[in-house]
Amino acid sequence: MEHETDILINDLRQRKPAACQRLLATYGPAVFRMVQRLVTCREDAEEVYQDVFVKALRSIGSYDARQASLSTWLNRIAYHESLNVVRSKRPTIVSLDDRDLAPGLLDFPDNAPPDEQTIQQLEQALAQLAPHEQAIVSMYYYDNMSIADIAYVTGSIPSTVGSQLSRIRKKLYRIIKAH
């Protein structure tokens, strides 16, 4: 697999059309998913998706496999391109700071067994998160990415990502309790 990726990268550096097609087929769905997490408008998401690969092919020469895997590197480009679009469109972000809620609402179930009602409430609460927060929790819980990889994608440091995840989780349970 690693050897195949090396060949793919080499071919991409030589601007081989077949390599481009292979890149899109292999990594396209994951990249599109990442874009969709942040960009809700379908047309915008497709445009960003195209921009991601244009940018990736332009800067494939500077890709360093020691820093991150090819998929993480593509996700990083996708994350930043999507955030640029989101910021330029200025969506309404629901602000829910710690001070907005009473301290008694801070407790939430740890290691609780799956509970249908809580899951549904969490699904609704997830919609109230800012796009970049949704992307971070999705990378952690759905893509099973390591905190170091998430930090690489977001351009942050692992400790910051750890505290962000913890804060977002608390925020979600606060939203549930508030309702």
């Binding site: 601007r15 059309p17 481009c20 097609q21 899109l24 087929a25 396209g28 769905p29 599109f32 998913r33 969709q36 997490r37 379908r42 497709e46 998706y49 195209q50 690969f53 244009v54 092919l57 179930p109 740890d110 290691n111 609780a112 067994p113 799956p114 509970d115 809580t118 899951i119 549904q120 969490l122 699904e123 997830l126 929790v137 999705s138 952690y140 819980y141 759905y142 750890g162 995840l165 913890s166 989780r169 979600l172």
Partner: protein, 194 residues
């Protein structure tokens, strides 16, 4: 960190949410491929045009800078020649050539920092001119409409302008206009009285 990992409710909620995302359009990759192939052929002429434009702009900028620099170096000795306070009689052979004023420039450098000198000297010349104009006016008023007194044209002892001094030429013109005006005014007054 464990509570984060073991939050199965949240994991399940996110999983369901991700599955609700619409699938990628089947033809999207084809469209992207088309888009990726197009810029490769279109890029080189755009770049060439850009480089050419930048080169032309840089050339023009250099020419302007070079020309301005040349003008400045040609003007500096003239200013120095006009403002250095030395008697004209002590240097009778000195011609008003701008390049020949090199030693004077050196003198100026000793007096004040080079950046302040031209402005300072200009101010001094202007002050002298302002002093010069009212004196001539007063003298011409006293000597009724005749020719202006020769003393009025004599500059103050510490200023010896050369023939090419533009400020002196301008001052002479102003003085001439003023004296003619005064004479005309006196003639009109005389006619009115008669």
């Amino acid at each position: 960190m464990n509570e984060l990992k073991n939050d199965n409710n949240l994991r399940e909620a996110i999983g369901r949410r991700e599955q609700q995302l619409p699938p990628m359009p089947a033809d999207l990759n084809e469209r992207v491929m088309k888009g990726l192939m197009e810029p490769e052929t279109a890029a080189p002429p755009r770049r060439l045009w850009l480089y050419a434009a930048v080169a032309v702009a840089a050339g023009i900028a250099l020419l302007i800078i070079f020309h301005l620099g040349k003008e400045q170096t040609a003007q500096e000795p003239v200013v120095a020649q006009q403002t250095v306070g030395q008697p004209a009689a002590s240097k009778p052979t000195e011609a008003p050539e701008p390049v020949a004023a090199k030693p004077r420039q050196e003198e100026m450098k000793v007096e004040a920092p080079p950046a302040q000198q031209p402005a300072k000297k200009h101010r001094k010349v202007m002050r002298k001119l302002i002093e010069l104009i009212p004196t001539a006016e007063a003298k011409s008023a006293h000597t009724a409409a005749a020719e202006p007194a020769p003393e009025a044209e004599t500059p103050s002892p510490d200023y010896y302008p050369t023939e090419q001094d533009p400020f002196v030429a301008m001052a002479a013109q102003v003085e001439d206009i003023r004296s003619r005006g005064m004479a005309l005014q006196q003639e009109i007054t005389a006619l009115m009285n008669n």
